[in-house]
């Protein structure tokens, strides 16, 4: 009797699960996948997540319902900490956070309660390079001139140790330019307003931002600024004609291996901008399924069309690629990291 009931139940289970054998599909069927966004609504991390969220279910076996939750705090450290430590580790909760948190972990900043090596990175959305730009009336027309004349160029930055602050001080240390980073600007808009109203001489941010939302600063009648230098190995873009790429320039000038490594560490977070991750301990097949799903979702025609409408050039990277960059950054030799920390503290 008992065996018959068991048999019947097994049969019922077979009937109710359409993809018998696909453990991932079985798992996600009828469940919810919650994406915890580390920032408030309307920011880039939120918008990127909401860009893929509507199509994501199509590409995950079992089609779970996708729910986006905003959990703002600590520059997304709160979301990262929570998802790493206090949320379910079965693949129903993931985080959308800022990749610059990894740099914070590498620097040993307090409040980081996760290990980037243990996160199951799923995907990143953009591969950006940071760049610095100055006003046309700043008295400097090229990076070479800025280095030669040692003219002080005040740039507006957000927080100490953040990307808009790292770049100018790294360029000062390695190439001998004379940027002065003033921190405390509360938002990207405020950072650029200070450039537009001539309060500061320039600003550093990703070149992506310069070439999309702030293109009016560089093109057309009302243009006010020019790009001085871009991090990494440069990009192919009309605005970058004659603009040196930091890593290329460093090699040309015969800078040391360490200095090139520093430039790379500075730009690493940009290379995996807007990153989605699962907590440690999620079964491997689910991680792989979500990596595939994000890769497909970023290439979905609907997502591509909307991204184009928003002037944003999606350059997704799969989770394994993200993990490699994170690993490299976290493996930065200690003496080098100490020098980076010292530079940041000196401001």
């Amino acid at each position: 009797m008992f065996r018959r009931i068991l048999f019947l139940m097994a049969g019922l289970m077979l009937l109710t699960s359409p993809a018998w054998g696909d453990a991932v599909a079985d798992f996600y069927k009828g469940k919810q996948l919650r994406i915890v966004v580390g920032y408030g609504p309307g920011g880039t991390t939120d918008l990127t997540t909401r860009l893929v969220a509507p199509v994501l279910h199509k590409y995950i076996p079992g089609s779970p319902r996708i729910v986006v939750q905003n959990k703002a705090g600590g520059g997304s450290a709160l979301a990262a900490n929570t998802v790493f430590n206090n949320e379910r580790r079965d693949g129903t909760v993931m985080a959308a956070i800022s990749s610059s948190l990894v740099m914070k972990q590498a620097r040993g900043v307090a409040g980081i309660r996760f290990d980037g090596r243990k996160f199951n990175w799923v995907a990143s959305a953009f591969r950006a390079n940071s760049a610095c730009a100055v006003r046309l009336d700043s008295g400097v027309s090229s990076f070479a001139e800025a280095v030669k004349t040692k003219k002080q160029l005040i740039v507006s930055s957000f927080d100490k140790g953040g990307l808009s602050h790292l770049e100018p001080i790294f360029f000062n240390a390695i190439f001998g330019s004379n940027f002065k980073a003033v921190t405390g600007f509360p938002s990207g808009g405020a950072q650029r307003l200070a450039v537009k109203n001539g309060e500061v001489n320039g600003f550093c941010t990703t070149f992506q931002t310069m070439a999309s939302t702030e293109i009016a600063m560089f093109e057309g009648e009302g243009k006010c600024c020019r790009v001085l230098i871009i991090a990494g190995e440069g990009e192919d873009h009309p605005l970058l004609e004659g603009v040196p790429a930091a890593e290329v320039l460093a090699k040309e000038q015969g800078k040391s291996k360490d200095e090139i490594a520093m430039l790379r560490a500075m730009n690493a977070a940009n290379q995996i901008s807007i990153v989605h991750t699962l907590p440690p301990g999620v079964p491997k097949d689910r991680v792989e399924a979500l990596r595939d799903a994000f890769a497909k979702a970023y290439n979905d025609p609907q997502v591509q069309a909307l991204a184009k409408k928003q002037n944003r050039n999606l350059q997704p990277r799969r989770g394994d690629g993200v993990a490699k960059i994170v690993e490299d950054l976290l493996n930065t030799p200690k003496p080098l990291m100490d020098r980076i920390k010292e530079l940041i503290d000196k401001g």
Binding site: G30, K31, R34, V67, V68, Q69, N86, E87, R88, T92
Partner: protein, 181 residues
């Protein structure tokens, strides 16, 4: 009586502000500048306020003290017995904490079902029918109105998380909602 609490608040403020100023001493110059620039004058004012309330409290009573500055928000309405006021203030304070802790443990959906029921029936002495109907309304608002219609995520509370469950209600509600969809 009123003066005693005024002195109490004064002592608390002076202590807190002294701690804030003391804590700031160890920070780098630019970090501590603003907290100190604000902290010292505010601390000075708090000391002044404390001294003033001490002086008011310690000076010999020349006349029966008139009522202190009336509460702008509490002056209308019938005058209540202070003992009753204190009892009811304690009651509602307990419930404020109970709701916060309850929502943390149970989440907004299940918490919305359980907490109002208990409050209404046991504290406010409403009938079971009223209490349950009310709480069901709260639950429906959270589940259907916020979670389903607006995709507003309401995670389960800590108890469900600790037991390794998704939430207490989804096992019952989700199949029903899936049928309706």
């Amino acid at each position: 009586m009123r003066n005693r609490t005024d002195i109490g608040i004064g002592v608390l403020l002076v202590t807190l502000l002294s701690w804030a100023v003391w804590e700031a001493q160890g920070w780098p110059a630019r970090t501590r500048f603003f907290p100190l620039a604000i902290g010292y004058p505010v601390l000075a004012m708090a000391v002044m306020h404390l001294a003033y309330s001490l002086w008011l409290g310690l000076r010999p009573l020349r006349f029966e003290q008139g009522p202190a500055a009336p509460d702008p928000l509490a002056e209308a309405g019938p005058i209540l017995d202070p003992a009753v006021v204190r009892k009811r203030t304690l009651e509602i304070s307990f419930w404020a904490v109970a709701f916060a802790v309850g929502l943390y443990l149970l989440g907004f959906k299940v918490g919305g079902l359980v907490l109002p029921t208990i409050f209404l029936h046991y504290q406010a002495r409403e009938t079971w029918v009223t209490s349950l109907a009310y709480s069901l309304g709260v639950y429906v608002f959270f589940k259907i109105g916020l979670e389903e219609a607006l995709s507003f995520p309401l995670p389960a509370g800590q108890i469900a998380y600790g037991l390794g469950l998704y939430s207490f209600d989804s096992y019952l509600m989700d199949p029903i909602l899936n049928l309706l969809r």
